[in-house]
């Protein structure tokens, strides 16, 4: 057929063919040109004035030079109501730029919503474009990055727009655990639209220019009579420190995109794997009530002191993030003694659980540093459901089949000891530092129970400390594999990871587990 058509055309009227061919070529060029400037120069300038980059500029900066391959540049919306069918209301590509590219050589699929076209609003065509690249990403197993900057649904299209959202949500869910999904909120994202970022693995925001909320300040005012600004209601600060919806916030578009590139760097490097870290020998203070910074330990142990922390400002009593050990990407979970003694509470349990499950889904080994005095007591916690939420972290650690290495740096008290990737939850390698104390609770509390009403409390306390405030009770039972010098921790972890690289562990078959949501 392909060989035939030109021939017949040529035979019939070669001149007509070439003219028509030319005009198609012109139209293609014209459309491409139009697509490249989106909603036009005026709107681009307005976007810049807001301190925001355009959809295309963002893609260009995010991806390696010349690596972007665009799809659906010619797709246009199909709305014919309210004058939308007029030519001036048609923009090739509609309000989103989609395609694939590479970040430092790694394949990713990207969509970038174009605020200059109908405020980035989501039409049926817009959703269709996003769905297309998500489907492709799933077929080839590549991550999806969404750059969100959208005013919401395309009201002119009505239910078609809503259908579009649902199509995307379904794909978000289907892709969850299959390919990593990352959302970078670079402008407004309101209403139902927020559920797409919420379903992805990581949500990043740009400070001062991005907002996420179900309903905006105006609706809030009319319904609950609360006065609240956009920033307070759904700005980067709110979501990274109060609500825990977003995992990280960056200063501006450029920094956000550059950091997103960095986030993708799970790379090879040359920090010697047998490096000793003498500074760790002195990091844990002698007084067991004194705080220290768990980040000091993490940075000293990982490759090149580089640690990409997730949710650094939310539930700071637990630290989670990515790092590399001898070039391998690992997920790190650590209690933070500096904040609230590193206790587990509702927020930190949920933060930790979600991170552990991400690592497990994408085969990233988990290294856990334990210094936990227990779960936070109190009515606020109990009423809030600490039992249900704490169980999430327990569930996540127990369910994970990736290599799990645990280091008890100091306290591992009570139920929290069990939860924090203990040997009993299939920890592959569990170490204790000499400063470790694995016990049901602190000496004072324990003595008050054991020796209730007796006078020699101080003496009993000393005896308890002697007996339990050290790593031996756990070590003699084999609940920790070894007591190690802190300075050798990096070396040991690197070797263990080498061995565990071939770990194979399968959970019993099930439709899916029932994590206590």
């Amino acid at each position: 057929f392909r060989g035939k058509l030109p021939q017949t055309s040529l035979l019939r009227d070669s001149r007509w063919y070439s003219v028509s061919h030319l005009s198609v070529k012109e139209r293609i060029d014209k459309k491409r040109k139009a697509a490249l400037i989106g909603g036009g120069q005026k709107r681009i300038d307005a976007q810049h004035k807001r301190g925001k980059l355009t959809a295309r500029e963002r893609v260009e900066l995010l991806l390696d030079p010349d690596s972007f391959v665009e799809t659906d540049m010619f797709v246009e919306h199909r709305c014919s109501d309210f004058g939308m069918e007029q030519d001036r209301n048609k923009f090739p590509g509609d309000s989103v730029v989609t395609g694939r590219g590479r970040i430092n050589g790694r394949l990713v699929y990207v969509f970038s919503q174009d605020f200059t076209v109908f405020g980035g609003s989501l039409s049926g065509a817009h959703a269709q474009k996003i769905c297309k690249i998500m489907d492709q990403a799933m077929t080839v197993g590549a991550p999806v990055i969404g750059l969100n900057d959208s005013g919401g649904a395309r009201i002119q299209e009505g239910v078609e727009s809503l259908a579009g959202y649902a199509d995307i949500f379904l794909r978000n869910v289907m892709a969850s655990g299959v390919v990593p999904q990352i959302s970078l909120i670079m402008g407004p994202c309101a209403g139902g639209a927020v559920y797409s970022p919420a379903l992805t693995d990581f949500t990043f925001m740009v400070k001062d220019t991005s907002y996420l909320f179900i309903t905006g300040p105006d609706v809030v005012k009319s319904v609950t009579n609360e006065d609240v600004t956009q920033e307070e209601l759904g700005g980067a600060k709110t979501h990274t420190s109060v609500s825990g919806v977003a995992h990280h916030a960056f200063e501006n578009d450029v920094e956000a995109l550059l950091n997103l590139r960095e986030f993708f760097n799970f790379l090879e490097c040359h920090d010697p794997s047998d490096r000793l870290v003498p500074s760790l020998d002195t990091i844990v203070p002698f007084e067991s009530t004194k705080a220290y910074d768990m980040l000091d330990i993490i940075q000293a142990i990982v490759d090149e002191r580089e640690f990409f922390e997730i949710m650094p400002n939310y539930a700071k009593n637990i630290v989670v993030g990515f790092a590399r050990m001898n070039g391998r990407t690992v997920g790190i979970v650590g209690n933070q003694p500096k904040v609230a003694s590193g206790c587990l509470d509702i927020n930190s349990s949920v933060k930790g659980a979600r991170f552990v499950r991400f690592c497990d889904a994408f085969n990233i080994p988990i290294i856990t540093f334990v210094d936990v005095p227990g779960f936070l007591p109190g009515t606020a916690q109990e009423y809030g459901g600490i039992i249900r939420h704490g169980a999430k972290l327990l569930f996540a650690f127990a369910e994970a089949t990736v290599p799990k290495i645990t280091i008890i740096t100091r306290k591992a008290y009570g139920g929290a000891y069990d939860v924090m990737s203990s040997k009993h939850l299939r920890g592959d390698v569990n170490y204790a530092w000499p400063s470790a104390e694995v016990a049901v609770m602190g000496a004072k509390g324990a003595v008050q129970i054991i020796f209730r009403g007796k006078d020699n409390q101080a003496e009993a306390e000393a005896e308890y400390v002697e007996k339990f405030a050290n790593p031996f009770p756990a070590a003699v039972r084999g609940f920790v594999d070894d007591i190690i010098e802190p300075s050798t921790t990096r070396r040991k972890i690197c070797r263990d990871l080498d061995v565990l690289a071939s770990k194979k562990q399968v959970n019993p078959w099930k439709k899916h587990a029932n994590i206590p949501l």
Binding site: R102, N104, V242, N252, P278, S279, A300, Y314, V339, P373
Partner: protein, 758 residues
Amino acid sequence: MAAHSLSPSLYRLLFAVKYASLHSRCCAVHKKAQYSTIYNPSEKTFEKILIANRGEIACRVIKTCKKMGIKTVAVHSDVDSSAVHAKMADEAVCVGPAPTSKSYLNMDAIMDAIRTTGAQAVHPGYGFLSENKEFAKRLAAEGVTFIGPDTHAIQAMGDKIESKLIAKAAKVNTIPGFDGVVKTAEEAVKIAQDIGYPVMIKASAGGGGKGMRIAWNDEETREGFRFSSQEAASSFGDDRLLIEKYIDNPRHIEIQVLADKHGNALWLNERECSIQRRNQKVVEEAPSTFLDSVTRQAMGEQAVQLAKAVQYSSAGTVEFLVDSKKNFYFLEMNTRLQVEHPITECITGLDLVEQMIRVAKGYRLQHKQEDIPINGWAIESRVYAEDPYKSFGLPSIGRLSQYHEPLNLSNVRVDSGIQEGSDISIYYDPMISKLVTYGATRSEALARMEDALDNYVIRGVTHNIPLLREIITHPRFISGDISTNFLPEVYPDGFKGHQLEADTRRELLASAAALYITAQLRSQRFLGELRVSSSPVECNHWELCVELGEQRHVLEITKSGNVYTVEVDGGEVEVSGQWDLASPLLPLTINSTHKMLQCLSRDASGNIVLQYLGTSFQVRVLSKLAAELNSYMPEKVPEDTSSILRSPMPGTMVAVSVKPGDTVAEGQEICVIEAMKMQNSLTAVKQAKRRAATYPAGVPRRTQRTTAHVIRAPRFAGERNPRQAKTGEGGSLLYYMQFLGFRFQVDGFDNMVNLGCS
């Protein structure tokens, strides 16, 4: 004399037994020690010595003890229990809590330690109890040898006025002046006029430059009298004053003496200690560029005369002020081992600690005056944990997250008492180490000092290496044109760091760009990727935009192999190196010259902090595209913090000074936070009114309380009552009280540390 050198392997063993991970460094010290490693094993001294000190000087003494086969006992405070000196010694005894008055100055505890360990002698180091006659007396009473001079000499030289009288009597040049009780300001003025202005006034009992005031006229004399007499009475309980001629632009040159108990005394040449800030030494050298052999000898002989006059034994230092005409005046005598003794050891080859121990045992001096050489030149830089940009050094504290001494270089000696992971705390001197370099000539020693400073890795605390490196490379210092006023004269507006010239600026920009590209290229290599990368040719040409300070530069970089050719500001710079991104050091070859840079930090946004020529510079490297797009990014206005009160440190709120409805004026106290055993008053930055408690109904009453109880039992604000939750810039949840137009925040979370929750 039978000489015996302790074999390095035995030496290593000694350390390996005591502390495994320290041994590599200590061996290096041993090899590089610029003092005699020879001793006479047949000369029995002591079985066991207790070192009543901490930090580098304790380590220094322990090293010599080990060489001499003497067992050592360290004393330490509880926070120092894992300090290097405590680990290095054969035994370590805790003598009390962190504050020095309760530990290192706690004579009772130290005496107990001596008894329980059976130490036969005590080396006091410097500071602490080294010049405390009471301590020396108590030791003598228990038959324990004090490694230092007799009580008599300590007492005689410890008093400014008495020491001057003795010096005068011993025919030592002294500064014209008056010492004794001055009753009124007018009397002080008359004395000052007799001596002739300028004059210096200080409390007789005050040590060093403490409380020293200079008066150029009658009015200033009156003022100086008032302050000094008050201080003398309050700080020292001794109201005698010293008024003497002030020598303008003097040099501070001191003579090391060494004497035995048999009336022999030697002078071990001078140390030039003129580079000072706030009367504390920063850079010292031996010998001095300023002294000729005649002056040196005259000073040495007078120092020895003084030592003999007080029947001095052990090592001591006679300090002189030397004016521009090489007139020298006795200042004071320090009856202990000086901080800067290593430079004397470098040029004379003597081990002063060893000599002190021998002398204390009663042996005669081994050397004659004519045996004392000046071999080469030695420079000492005192590396401090302090911020040199604030009045040439304000103490900073922190944890040494990374620390490597430049011991890979030859002719470098580092005396330190800390290691990676050590804390520089508020309790003790913020000195990190004494960095000593040695060379056949002064320029050799100086060049080595430059290298050593560039190779010194200190992370986690602010340090004064920028200042040290600027001093030793300053033309005035190099030419020897220095005085005690060097720093204020050279940096009248304060120290501002190294000022880049056009060529060094280009070098810095090029290095930053090359480092950036190395990191970028490295990011493209990764493990476990199954897909084949589609980029066929590796890029080897880049255009980058680099910002340094206010200026932006466009750089063109071409890479071939490990060499980057960088075109910048019309010049071409060639940079090559090993590019080890894991190492804090960045050894580069820039235009075929070796330069040691350090990468202090690097982030994804292109910010790179490099230490170059001692000073750290922040540069921002962006691709051309990123730089172009960055121009659209709005400048962020720093948050107006005048309406927010932040606790400077985590602590406990012990008092709230304003009631609801109160209006606070600017500077008025709002609450008191207790932290580090200190009560810190937090004050209002602007006028504000504390809003009456306007909490919504249904909130438990306890959240309305503004007392310490709420702070001590923090809850996760935001759970029960979202209105209570606010976040500070750092993002931590803070307890806060609402003022009218005034948010009042106290970091309450860290107090959880005190809660034993389970």
